[in-house]
């Protein structure tokens, strides 16, 4: 079972590398799709069944497709711009590695400050279906952020429509 998780993680990281480095944006966005799938799998293994589903639906089904559409709408497929001319990469690379290392170290140190769960508890957590719990939480203690998000989404939608309107 854990081998599958490892596989998912490898898939995620590898395709993320391609996303970051592939000169062609079209390819990069296709591989982003794989990254999203890998992350969805990781969610599943972390006991987040609902989230995994949402990840697939929203990212894989929504965002990635949207991006692909945008690429096709804006650029002729073989446009020279499509094979993305990169900015200077060394300093950003160094910075990115530093960020990654520091982030990991910081999080790692945080791990020690919280008590670990017992294996039984982990097992129980993984096996509980989350959809109902999330639903109750969203309409209970998280109602206000939830409403805020809905308004944000509405606003974003209106804004996007207005921005993309024909002249």
């Amino acid at each position: 079972m854990n081998k599958v998780l490892l596989l998912a993680e490898v898939l995620t990281v590898a395709s993320a590398f391609i996303v970051a480095f592939h000169p062609n944006v079209l390819y990069a966005s296709v591989f982003l799709l794989f990254t999203f799938c890998g992350v969805a799998a990781m969610f599943l293994f972390a006991g987040a069944d609902f989230l995994a589903g949402a990840q697939v639906i929203i990212y894989v089904g929504g965002v990635t497709i949207l991006i692909l559409f945008a690429i096709m709408l804006t650029q002729w497929l073989y446009n020279i711009k499509l094979s993305d001319i990169r900015n200077k990469m060394l300093l950003p690379g160094v910075l990115a590695i530093a960020v990654g290392v520091f982030l990991y170290r910081a999080l790692h140190q945080m791990v020690a400050t919280l008590p670990p769960q017992t294996p039984e508890a982990l097992e129980k957590f993984s096996s509980t279906p989350k959809t109902a719990l999330i639903g109750q939480a969203l309409l209970g203690s998280y109602l206000l952020p939830f409403e805020a998000i809905t308004i944000l989404l509405l606003g974003a939608m209106v804004g996007a429509v207005w921005l993309a309107r024909p002249e």
């Binding site: 995620t12 711009k81 993305d84």
Partner: protein, 108 residues
């Protein structure tokens, strides 16, 4: 190999993946000239954040709060993608390019 499998299913494994994704996202955002490429990087960063939340939710708190935050991130990401793409489309119509360096009318 076992060691790796062990690591991958631990909290640290999740954190490592999150950190790598985050770093790659940052890198992507910093280096891509293409506006859509930058958007890709942002998606990576957001996913990295989501992974961390979910991981802490399972391995440390045992509550679903982390998952709810991850859900919110996802929703915001969707909204952001929609708006960003609309902006890009508009920008493309304006300048016939989506080179982010061209988007410098904010300069002084």
């Amino acid at each position: 190999m076992n060691h790796l499998i062990q690591f991958s299913s631990s909290l640290q494994g999740y954190l490592a993946v999150g950190a790598i994704l985050f770093a790659l996202g940052i890198f992507c955002v910093m280096t891509r000239k293409n506006a859509i490429g930058i958007l890709l990087g942002i998606e990576l960063i957001l996913n990295a954040a989501g992974i961390n939340f979910v991981a802490f939710s399972k391995f440390r708190t045992g509550l679903i709060d982390g998952q709810i935050v991850a859900l919110f991130i996802m929703l915001i990401a969707a909204a952001e993608a929609a708006v960003a793409l609309a902006v890009i489309l508009r920008f493309y119509r304006l300048k016939q390019t989506i080179d982010a360096d061209e988007a410098s009318i904010m300069r002084n």
